[in-house]
């Protein structure tokens, strides 16, 4: 019995760890989706490219992990911007349908991953330089990396929320997400806001990628799984709601892990999509969505 309680506590902690990262990724993707309505699958590529940026800085240039994170943020930001300006903007100019934009995004992802493969080879690359130690709190054990995941994710997510709430451009983003036509009426330049959300969202994705690489290494195809988790977080929480995406990420992380109370652990990946499927069927507006 005691063991079961310990197991539940450990699984809950695991859920919180994974959920925090999902929340960060969910917010980073959800911000872009809510504002631009682009189903930005290539976010996965941004994440991978930025992580390779970090790996190069730390491993090749030997510049230390903090600079690696800076590199991930900067590379992510620039790469996201490049996608918006180089891929999506031309498509908007020809009034591409949502499906076509989605397919272009997929195409870009497929091509980009392979370019990464050609440039850096297929092998997993570690992001070294972090002193990993185990931490035990009662029956719950985790590592310093996972503690960093939680700390960094929440710090970034909360900072983003504050920025959206209290700054002029943050408000402009929320305005475009809430009512794009009216935003134009008050003089908010939609193109600039799009550029801004891609910059911010991609920066967060880059940092998220570096956090993942810290524990799980970097590889050309590393982005898809986390970004699928981000989709799920966003749709669980309800499109357009930043707090919703956070909650959705946490719910997803907990559901995947707490599922371990009843099912062998390798069902984890299935659980996430079963949850998504059920939510889309039963409550398409998301668990926390208003509509």
């Amino acid at each position: 019995m005691n063991a079961d309680l310990g197991l539940a506590a450990q699984l809950a902690a695991n859920g919180l760890i994974a959920g925090s990262l999902y929340a960060l990724l969910g917010v980073s993707w959800g911000l872009i989706f809510a504002t631009t309505k682009i189903f930005h699958f290539a976010h996965a590529l941004t994440l991978a490219v930025a992580t390779y940026g970090a790996v190069l800085v730390v491993e090749r240039a030997g510049l230390g992990l903090p600079l690696g994170f800076v590199a991930a943020a900067v590379v992510g930001c620039l790469f996201g911007l490049a996608i918006e300006v180089g891929v999506y903007r031309p498509l908007r100019r020809v009034n591409a349908t949502q499906l076509n934009v989605f397919l272009a995004s997929l195409g870009f992802l497929i091509a980009g991953e392979s370019v990464l493969l050609i440039l850096f080879g297929p092998e997993a690359r570690a992001l070294p330089g972090f002193a990993v130690e185990g931490i035990a709190v009662g029956p719950v054990a985790f590592t310093t990396i996972e503690a960093l995941w939680i700390g960094a994710s929440w710090a970034l997510v909360l900072a983003l929320m504050a920025w959206l709430r209290f700054t002029r451009w943050g408000r402009a983003i929320r305005a475009v997400a809430s009512n794009p036509d009216l935003a134009q009426c008050v003089g908010v330049d939609r193109a600039r806001v799009f550029v801004l959300v891609f910059a911010v969202g991609s920066t967060l994705a880059g940092i998220g990628g570096a956090l993942i690489a810290l524990r799980d290494t970097a590889s050309p195809f590393m982005g898809v799984q986390p970004v699928l988790a981000a989709f799920i977080a966003v749709f669980l929480g309800g499109i357009g709601s930043i707090p919703g995406a956070i909650a959705g990420g946490l719910v997803l992380g907990l559901a995947e892990n707490m599922g371990g109370l009843f099912l062998p652990g390798h069902w984890q990946g299935v659980i996430a999509f079963v949850v998504l499927f059920v939510v889309l069927v039963v409550r398409p507006s998301g668990l926390f969505g208003a509509r």
């Binding site: 997929l106 195409g107 870009f108 497929i110 299935v270 998504l276 069927v281 398409p284």
Partner: protein, 570 residues
């Protein structure tokens, strides 16, 4: 050449899958990111019954088709409620769940290790093992699949699918059960995927989850879109190009890992470039390639007036009676205690200021909005709770203020699709009574041309509807509405946004309809038009009817004028 035959077999198998997806995506406008999973369900169904139950070959294919059809139809039910990105995500979730099951349910699927030694089909006791031995079987089934898909796609059934793709609400409004068609097309699509899956399992003699990944689903969507949606030739061309051509890269002296990466770079890059520069794909829908060229329709020598006559259903003096209808949105009263009567063969108008709830009345009458209270009686029959498409079949049809034509279909097809009870809309007659279907189609085409002749657009019959001017579109919409053969026609602003010379023409046609015995009710802001055409008018304000009478009398009422134009200020 075994290798190239093998590649050809693969092209054929994937083109069956492409056709399956094209029916969904190209014809019905429904995205499926789960076709890799459907393919896998078919393959595993065949493999498992062959392995565990020793079921022999042609029977395994039947099982595969049955299982996949059932699974696809089951996915449809939730998929009916969601659109756009939600449908993408829902089918993606389904794909991932099925893939997860293939990997994790090891007792049934043997997981990643896969099922080996699947029995090869035997002809006269000798098993087919080489690609060349398989080719005839695969080729024949591919040909059958293309033929069946072509038959479906180019039939009245396929026409409804295209209507559904272009405008779901308008499809309901011409009396087609959107639900039935969606479930049917998902099931058919599933059946095709089952054929491909079953064949694949026996051909490879080995399957594992890797063949049924999200990547495969993505590849199939890309194949169909790049080839050209709603054009089966495009799918075949796409399969040749995107399955066949990359195999040639094998012969280039380069490292395999680089070759594969280069292939993906080209493929992904093409996807991006096509979406930007040629979103309609290699072979566009209305390309003359891949389909029979339709002869230009001969202008019918008889006037269209014959076809607009009422098909006798009832004979009382009133066609429709509505009583006590009410509807609220949140706290806002959209309709309250609405009662009205539509006398047979007359034109009744609903007038009132913007936002008075006139369109809401149409929505309530036709079932597009469920009424909270009240009843609607059509020819003595209670139609209050009928679904919109059933209301149309009962004889009550409506048009839309914003026209809502099926913009990617031809003008003729826009009208043709609205004709009720076409035998070719059902799969049974489509395949087993082709003569009856062909006869009905001939008659219906002629009939549709008469409707078009009635509105004066017969010469535009083969143009794509979206290319017409707004005024012409309104006329096509009227022809389409008449083609539903409904006796009671609710016209939402038939003359708004139309040039004055068109207005007179439209009003004339409306009058003719009434004289031919059809019952017309219209919402119109152009009060001159109302004066010219309506026998009787209801005046609405804030969800209520506050006056009724002949239009001239209503317009002479200073109180109503004040409501309409606003009160003078003190």
């Amino acid at each position: 050449m075994e290798f190239w035959v093998h590649v050809l077999n693969f092209i054929l198998l994937l083109s069956i899958l492409g056709v399956s997806l094209n029916l969904l995506l190209g014809y019905a406008g429904l995205v499926s990111m789960a076709h890799g999973a459907f393919f896998g369900v078919g393959a595993y169904a065949a493999a498992i019954v062959s392995r565990d139950l020793g079921v022999p070959f042609p029977l395994t294919l039947v099982v595969a088709v049955a299982v996949t059809t059932a699974v696809a139809a089951a996915v449809t039910l939730p998929a009916l409620r969601v659109y756009g990105e939600y449908l993408i995500l829902l089918t993606l979730a389904f794909q991932m769940v099925i893939y997860g099951l293939m990997l994790s349910w090891t007792d049934l699927t043997a997981g990643r290790t896969g099922i080996a030694g699947i029995a090869r089909p035997a002809v006269l006791g000798t098993p087919m093992t080489t690609p060349t031995q398989f080719l005839p079987l695969i080729a024949v089934l591919t040909a059958v699949a293309f033929a069946v898909a072509w038959r479906i796609g180019e039939s009245p059934f396929g026409r409804v699918l295209k209507a559904l793709r272009d405008d779901e609400r308008a499809t309901l409004a011409i009396g087609k059960s959107v639900l039935r068609y969606k479930v049917a097309v998902f099931a058919i699509s599933g059946a095709f995927a089952g054929v491909a899956g079953g064949l694949f399992a026996h051909y490879q003699a080995f399957i594992n989850p890797f063949s049924f990944t999200l990547d495969r689903s993505i590849f199939l969507v890309a194949l169909v879109v790049l080839g050209g949606t709603a054009n089966l030739l495009g799918t075949f061309v796409g399969a040749v190009l995107f399955v066949g051509l990359p195999e040639m890269l094998r012969f280039i002296q380069m490292r395999q890992d680089v070759v594969d990466a280069v292939r993906n770079v080209i493929f992904g890059g093409l996807l991006v470039l096509f979406m930007r520069f040629r979103p309609e794909g290699l072979v566009p829908e209305h390309s003359r390639l891949g389909r029979r060229r339709r002869p230009a329709p001969p202008p019918p020598d008889v006037s269209g007036a014959v076809v607009i006559a009422r098909t006798a259903r009832g004979d009382g003096a009133t066609a429709l009676v509505a009583q006590g209808l009410a509807k609220h949105f949140g706290g806002i009263r959209a309709a309250e205690d609405l009662s009205l009567t539509l006398p047979r063969g007359q034109v009744t108008a609903l007038v009132g200021p913007n936002g008075a709830g006139k369109t809401t009345v149409f929505n309530l009458l036709t079932g597009f909005l469920p009424a909270e209270t009240g009843t609607v009686t059509l020819e003595g029959r209670d139609v209050t709770r009928l679904a919109p498409w059933r209301a149309v079949r009962a004889g009550l049809a409506r048009s839309f203020q914003d026209v809502r034509l099926f913009e990617r279909m031809t003008v003729l097809d826009n009208v043709l699709v609205a004709i009720p009870d076409q035998p070719g809309e059902r799969l049974g007659p489509l395949f087993f009574a082709p003569g009856r279907v062909a006869r009905a189609e001939r008659d219906n085409r002629e009939r549709s041309l008469r409707y078009l002749a009635f509105v004066g657009l017969a010469q535009r019959a083969s143009d794509v509807a979206g290319a017409l001017s707004f005024g012409e579109q309104k006329l096509v919409a009227l022809a389409r509405l008449l083609a539903t053969e409904a006796d009671v026609l609710l016209l939402d602003e038939p003359a708004s946004g139309v040039d004055p010379q068109w207005v007179a023409r439209i009003l004339g046609l409306i009058r003719q309809c009434a004289e031919a015995g059809r019952t017309v009710c219209l919402v119109e802001h152009n009060l001159e038009a109302v004066l010219a055409v309506a026998d009787h008018a209801y005046f609405m304000e804030a969800g209520r009817i506050i006056a009724e009478g002949p239009p001239e009398r209503l317009m002479a009422d200073a109180r109503l004028a004040e409501i309409y134009f606003g009160k003078g200020r003190r």
